[in-house]
Amino acid sequence: MKGLPPVLITAIVLVAGFALCAMQFPNIASTRVLGNLLTDNAFLGIVATGMTFVIISGGIDLSVGSVIGFTTVFVALAIERWGVPPLVAFVAILALSAAFGAAMGVVIHVFDLPPFIVTLAGMFLARGASFLLSTESVPITAPVYSTVSDFALRMPGGGRLTAIAIIMLVIVIGGALLLRLTRFGANVYALGGSRTTASLMGVAVGKMTIKIYMLSSLLAGIAGIVFSFYTSAGYSLSAVGVELDSIAAVVIGGTLLTGGQGSVIGTFLGVLIQGLIQTYINFDGTLSSWWTKIATGVLLFAFIALQQGLVALARRPVVKSAGAAS
């Protein structure tokens, strides 16, 4: 029921793309590259998982990039300047970002405002707040950071599955199970089908909206912590535009932008495709890294066109008849 065909197409694109890259650069087909790919895109995978819930429910969350930025700055300052133990700082920022998401959900539901506008406001708010905290990059030197950075599982072939890659994989799997197996997940799809109908069928639409945006912001907070591990710094300008990358990953993963259909696994594949393009460009060495964006753009267009085609196919001719006219 959860739109298998688009996911399959995403998987085929990924495999075909990988095969093409491997033909040109055989070294790409190694666990080393795979490990790096997962590590480099860990924060994107986490935030895109949250975005999948939001988009399937028929909404959008533009604030996630800014929440990541704010989180890195907050964590860096808390640990380095305010002397807060790292774990306490993490708990505090996660509570803060969850509350932030819940607040956006409340505004969206209570005032019946478009999520686009509300989360756009949230995006400016969070980004502005991170500048307020600090305009310069704050390096993090706490021992826990080097411990986590050094930690990795050895994969056969010499690849390293880093801690942050593991966090990402756990969250992707958890998200996929949450969406697929729980009542909460079913309600997310229901909301994306039609809010009115869902509410007529007994779904507590308000609570669901709040929870969904809370989840998205919470995951953005986790992504922010992961990002701070990745860069060992907090910077107010980090993760600019990540909300758009994650939306792209979600759409390439076969989730309908209009809601109601999609999967976390598809989103994960979408993240890998973006990572693969980036890896190819790194291997090539002569291409500008901005080609990642161009390739992503082309893929996005292709997938949106594909989805429209599939939707048109699904809309089989329904016999229009008697109806209401006289």
């Binding site: 089908g193 069928m201 006289s326």
Partner: protein, 514 residues
């Protein structure tokens, strides 16, 4: 009626329900009684108050007066969800389920069988399968609901409602998009549910189906209760009279005022004009200075005829001729270009622009006809608005007032003015007197006659037969999406129209929808 202790004690009792929207009285002291185990048809033309009554019963609209009792207990649901809690479930024509979810999820949304916080998918599917088996439906419950036909979606919606322990099931036009076979299935299910003691309210405009399935019929007209009858003892002609007719005796006298037939010039004619699956080919001549009335039940093809004539819908056969010259009417623009005007039935959604002023609404069509590069000056606009406000007696006589603040009758006049300003040769009016009060009624009818005397050709749709009889020079009667009879001169009276509508209805019920 006063004493509710009759043997088959009523399941649902509605007493003295009234509901107004602004100045429009949508329901006036309506009573309705549903007994356990009966299938009760609720009938009436558009605007009779059927949907308002349903929405009041189910708590979608708050009511102004009256009470609703279920099994003798008074209930006042504030929402569809609350109504469901009280045992009233409604399945609308547009199925209120989620096509993107699986059939099983739709049946059990928000009440899935759970274990350790996880939906027991296989258990849910098993239960869904068992539930649908009760309705002799064997489908893959894991597939998205949207993959299935509307009929199956309807049955799913009914199954969900029944499983939520509904005692009263309201089906609003459930058969409108079903084919004959699917209707049979649905009827089988309805009979089965009735046997279980569930009371079913069946809203439909297919009279054959009403006769086939219902035990009892309640008819509403203009927001009032006309009567409740047992289906077996209500001849079709009497039923149609209940739905359309008024006091039949007095109306024929008004015919005398209609001017004698002269050899009038033909304004527009349509030969073999039609569209497959929309309306059967018809011949129609519209003459200057003549009113042609279109009579028939809801769904008989009246609006379809009007839309074809105006060009709002494209004909796929036949020839249209205007003033002797063959023309093609492909779009409303073509209609306007040939001097046609069209006041649609849904004034609020298709006609007036409520936020704009009376003046702006009046000049709208004229400006559109002239094109953007030849704007009407403000002085011309004021002049035009003033002229028509005076001519049609639009009140209040303030050209700058937003149209949404005017009464229904005056909104209708503004619409008329809009088209009159384009100096049309043919005006199509779809239910011009719908939803406006009695005083304004008479005025609109007077206007129709006046316009006609000035040489305009008019094509008027109305469900009020006595009204059609009053102003029409000829009346075309429609049934099952075809023109079946044309009455002229002395032959125009309510009795003849009713007879034409009721004639052998049983045979042709589904032909128009092939």
């Amino acid at each position: 009626m006063e004493n509710s202790s009759d043997p088959a004690s009523p399941l649902l009792e509605v007493r003295g329900i009234s509901k107004s929207f602004g100045a429009v009285r949508a329901l006036q002291e309506v009573d309705f009684t549903l007994r356990a185990g009966e299938i009760h048809a609720l009938l009436g033309e558009n605007g009779a108050g059927k949907s308002t009554l349903i929405k009041v019963i189910t708590g979608v609209f708050p009511r102004d007066a009256g009470i609703v009792r279920i099994g003798g207990e008074e209930v006042a649901p504030r929402s569809a969800k609350a109504a469901l809690g009280a045992g009233i479930a409604t399945v609308y024509q547009e199925v209120n389920l989620l096509p993107n979810l699986s059939v099983a999820q739709n049946l059990f949304l928000d009440r899935q069988p759970m274990r350790f916080g996880i939906v027991r998918e296989s258990e849910m599917r098993r239960r869904a399968k068992a539930l649908l088996a009760d309705f002799s439906l064997d489908v893959d419950v894991a597939a998205p609901l949207g993959n299935y036909s509307v009929a199956i979606q309807h049955v799913t919606a009914i199954a969900r409602a029944v499983d939520l322990s509904a005692r009263v099931l309201i089906l609003d036009e459930p058969t409108a998009s079903l084919d004959r076979h699917e209707v049979e299935i649905l009827f089988g299910i309805m009979r089965q549910l009735a046997q279980r003691g569930i009371g079913i309210v069946f809203v439909s405009h297919f009279l054959d189906q009403v006769y086939e399935i219902s035990d009892r019929i309640t008819v509403l007209r203009n927001g009032r209760l006309v009567g409740e009858r047992e289906t077996v003892s209500l001849p079709r002609l009497d039923l149609i009279r209940m739905m359309l007719g008024r006091e039949l005796a007095e109306t024929t006298s008004a015919r005398a005022s209609v001017t004698e037939h002269k050899a009038r010039e033909i304004c527009a004619s349509f030969e073999g004009y039609g569209k497959a699956g929309y309306i059967a080919p018809f011949n129609l001549e519209l003459r200057h200075g003549e009113v042609v009335g279109l009579a028939g039940l809801l769904g008989s093809g009246r609006t379809e005829t009007a839309r074809l004539v105006f060009g709002a819908e494209r004909a796929d056969r036949g020839q249209a001729t205007v003033e002797g010259a063959p023309v093609r009417l492909q779009s409303p623009r073509d209609g306007v270009r040939h001097g046609f005007g069209y006041c649609p039935e849904e004034r609020k959604t298709d006609g007036i622009v409520a936020e704009l002023s009376v003046r702006e609404n009046i000049v709208l069509a004229l400006q559109a006809k002239r094109g953007l590069h030849r704007p009407l000056s403000r002085r011309e606009q004021d002049e035009i608005a003033r002229r028509y406000i005076k001519m049609l007696d639009i009140r209040p006589a303030d050209p700058e007032r937003p149209v949404g603040l005017l009464s229904g009758g005056n909104q209708q006049k503004v619409l008329l003015a809009r088209w009159l300003a384009t100096s049309p040769r043919l005006l199509v009016l779809d239910e011009p007197t719908r939803g406006i009060d009695v005083g304004a009624h008479a005025e609109i009818i007077r206007l129709i006659r006046e316009l006609c005397d000035e040489g305009l050709a008019l094509l008027v749709i109305s469900s009020e037969l006595d009204e059609i009889v009053t102003y029409s020079d000829r009346v075309v009667v429609l049934r099952d999406r075809a023109h079946v009879e044309e009455l002229a001169g002395e032959a125009i009276d309510v009795g003849n129209i009713l007879a034409a509508i009721a004639a052998d209805g049983a045979a042709t019920a589904h032909e128009g929808r092939a």
